[in-house]
């Protein structure tokens, strides 16, 4: 009985597995192979080399990587601090108002990310909405608020808020109210409950939200391009220009492989620590 079911399960999964292999794994494999081709080549029929990885260090691409990872980390921390109170409210306090917030946040996703970022450019640029209103109301002059690292981080926070907010709210909703009450009844203060009960029990949601925000931020490009000007060049930007402007597929592939490996490692470590079934609601 069990064996038949198992076989039927595998058979049913086969079509999806094939599609995934063709459109998801195969391109990744091509990228991975290109990473070992000589710089500037356009085919896979060359002797493998590590030249591209040497260039990563020699030509300072690692600083782009560090900027990407650093800003992603900063954005993730800010997102967590900003989203936690809101997510707590959505999970435990707001009741039906939660639906309104969910709709509002989801609706923002209906507009393309680039267009929303352009909105911020118009708002923050010199002579834009912000400086215009400031001048009209207070007479104060203000320079452009664009083109700095904090603005890029703000852009990341703005773009990826839903990806932190919803997993976090889900995680907090998983904390049983009785357990919090019991901790309080046994003498725990609010701060103590936050540290000893809320955060550990909401950890699956926290990990998933942080991981999504971090991974998306680390691979993001539009924020640094539009809001950051050329203040810093991020990894995704380097990869794109290697493929397009630089016409150097192997270098672009090597950079992509490095980014994928680092993020993949991070995701594996983080997800090994949480029970995904718990988040998907299969337990409890």
């Amino acid at each position: 009985m069990d064996r038949t079911e198992e076989r039927q399960g595998l058979l049913s999964a086969l079509p999806v597995a094939l599609v995934l292999a063709a459109i998801f794994l195969a391109p990744l494999l091509v990228v991975a192979l290109f990473a070992f081709m000589p710089p500037g080549s356009f085919g896979l029929a060359h002797a493998p080399t590590l030249e591209n990885f040497r260039l990563f260090f020699a030509q300072g691409y690692y600083s782009s990587l560090l900027w990407s990872l650093g800003m992603a980390a900063a954005a993730t921390i800010v997102l967590f601090l900003v989203c936690y109170p809101l997510a707590y409210g959505m999970a435990k306090v707001f009741r039906s108002f939660t639906l309104v917030i969910t709709l509002l946040v989801v609706m923002s996703l209906f507009v393309s990310e680039n267009i929303r970022l352009f909105g911020w450019v118009l708002t923050l640029m010199k002579g834009g909405l912000l400086s215009g209103y400031l001048k009209a109301w207070t007479g104060l002059e203000m320079d452009s608020a664009l083109y700095s690292v904090p603005v890029i981080v703000f852009g990341l926070v703005y773009s990826y808020l839903p990806f932190m907010l919803f997993p976090l709210a889900q995680g907090i909703a998983m904390v049983p109210e009785d357990v919090r009450l019991a901790a309080s009844d046994l003498g725990a203060s609010r701060t103590r409950i936050l540290w000893e009960i809320d955060l550990p029990l909401a950890m699956p949601g926290i990990v998933v939200g942080s991981l999504l925000s971090f991974v998306l931020s680390a691979g993001a490009m539009a924020e640094s391009k539009l809001l950051g000007g050329q203040t810093v060049v991020v990894m995704a930007d380097e990869i794109e220009s290697a493929f397009t402007y630089g016409q150097n597929w192997p270098l672009g592939s090597a950079l992509a492989v490095i980014l994928i490996l680092i993020i993949g490692l991070l995701a594996t470590v983080a997800l090994a620590k949480v029970d995904l079934d718990g988040i998907m609601g299969r337990r409890r």
Partner: protein, 361 residues
């Protein structure tokens, strides 16, 4: 000190908007007693315990713990604690960490905490090896004991229980009821237990408080409440009962249509014209042999026999004073089986000393 009042409630009321959950509760809880608050769902018992524990504030009235007014003292600042219906163990912690939690909050040293946790494991008949076990790996009964140990580690003035046994199967519940009673005796703590199950209340408690519609209807020992219920609700809540509407005669004696009341008992008197109900429990009703006398007598017809395991229950159909159908329940032990023919005429009788008068219509 045993015998002192630990907790005193005076006119405690609780409303949620227009809904009154508690309509004036007066109750005194004695140090060291096992008090069970019983009531059907919606009777307000859960609201009451939330007030007692400090999760809600009363809308009116006073709650004194010893001599301290604690109406507004939040749960985490009260020297009492509760075992939750869901147990509310910390799922991410081991058994040992769960038990040590309240001691950790009080700043007890790790060595002392561990020592006490092991003592409590022993007290609750859990092996020492459970100290490092994950809570979720424990069975239902074991989790129950861990929750108790955690509550005892807090060393509360009063230990409250919110139906912690209701989710367990019957056999385990019976075992834990007795263990809880035993634990109460060994720790000497004040236990206040909330349940909808009267059986649980009878097995464990020193005193029982019966709630209905946001009020306490009667408080007393199981024996007092069983034999002398304050009203028909309590009488019926406490198990099978036969109630006969009676009125007071001119001389204060009871009048009850077709029911012959011969004897006379000072306890059973109603003012002339007063309304009441005469109560007799099924186990006190006898089948009379022809010509046999009894204080109360009733003619009827044997309608049904049910087996209750150790006992047999007989349903006798009689005619009320206005010709209405009236069912009387009789219970006999197996060895006292009544050998009457189905649908055959029977005469029932009981002593007035075994009856009780409820003074309300």
């Amino acid at each position: 000190m045993a015998g002192d009042t630990v907790l005193r409630l005076r006119g405690v009321r609780k409303s949620f908007g227009a809904f009154t959950a508690l309509a004036g509760i007066d109750l005194e809880i004695t140090d060291g007693e096992f008090l069970t608050i019983v009531g059907p769902s919606g009777s307000g018992k859960t609201t009451l315990i939330r007030l007692l524990v400090g999760m809600e504030e009363p809308s009116a009235g006073e709650i004194h713990l010893r001599d301290r007014l604690i109406n507004k003292v939040p749960a985490n600042e009260r020297p009492t604690c509760m075992v939750f219906q869901s147990l509310a163990l910390f799922p991410h912690r081991t058994v040992g960490e769960n038990i040590e939690f309240p001691m950790k909050l009080k700043g007890v040293s790790p060595d002392r905490r561990r020592e006490r946790a092991l003592e409590l494991l022993a007290l609750l008949h859990l092996p020492e090896a459970y100290y490092g076990k994950r809570v979720q790996a424990c069975s239902g009964g074991e989790q129950q004991r861990v929750a108790l140990a955690r509550a005892l580690a807090f060393d509360p003035e009063i230990l409250f229980f919110d139906e912690p046994l209701s989710a367990l199967d019957y056999r385990l519940r019976k075992v834990l009821e007795k263990e809880l009673k035993d634990l109460h005796r060994r720790t000497g703590k004040t236990f206040v237990y909330i349940t909808h199950s009267l059986e649980e209340a009878m097995v464990m408690s020193d005193r029982i408080a019966i709630m209905r519609g946001g009020a306490i209807v009667q408080v007393g020992t199981a024996e007092q409440i069983y034999t002398a219920p304050a009203n028909a609700f309590v009488a019926e809540f406490m198990g099978e009962v036969n109630l006969f509407p009676v009125t007071g005669g001119d001389d204060g004696r009871l009048l009850c249509g077709d029911l012959e009341i011969r004897g006379h008992d000072e306890r059973l008197r109603l003012a002339s014209g007063g309304q009441g109900q005469l109560m007799v429990r099924p186990e006190f009703v006898r089948f009379l042999a022809p010509g046999e006398e009894a204080d109360c007598r009733l003619q009827g017809r044997l309608a049904n026999v049910f087996s209750l395991g150790s006992r047999l229950q007989y349903e006798i159909e009689a005619e009320g004073p206005r010709g209405e159908r009236r069912l009387v329940t009789v219970e006999k032990l197996r060895e006292e089986r009544f050998a009457g023919a189905p649908n055959g005429p029977v005469t029932l009788g009981w002593r007035l000393a075994d009856a009780h008068l409820i003074r309300e219509a």
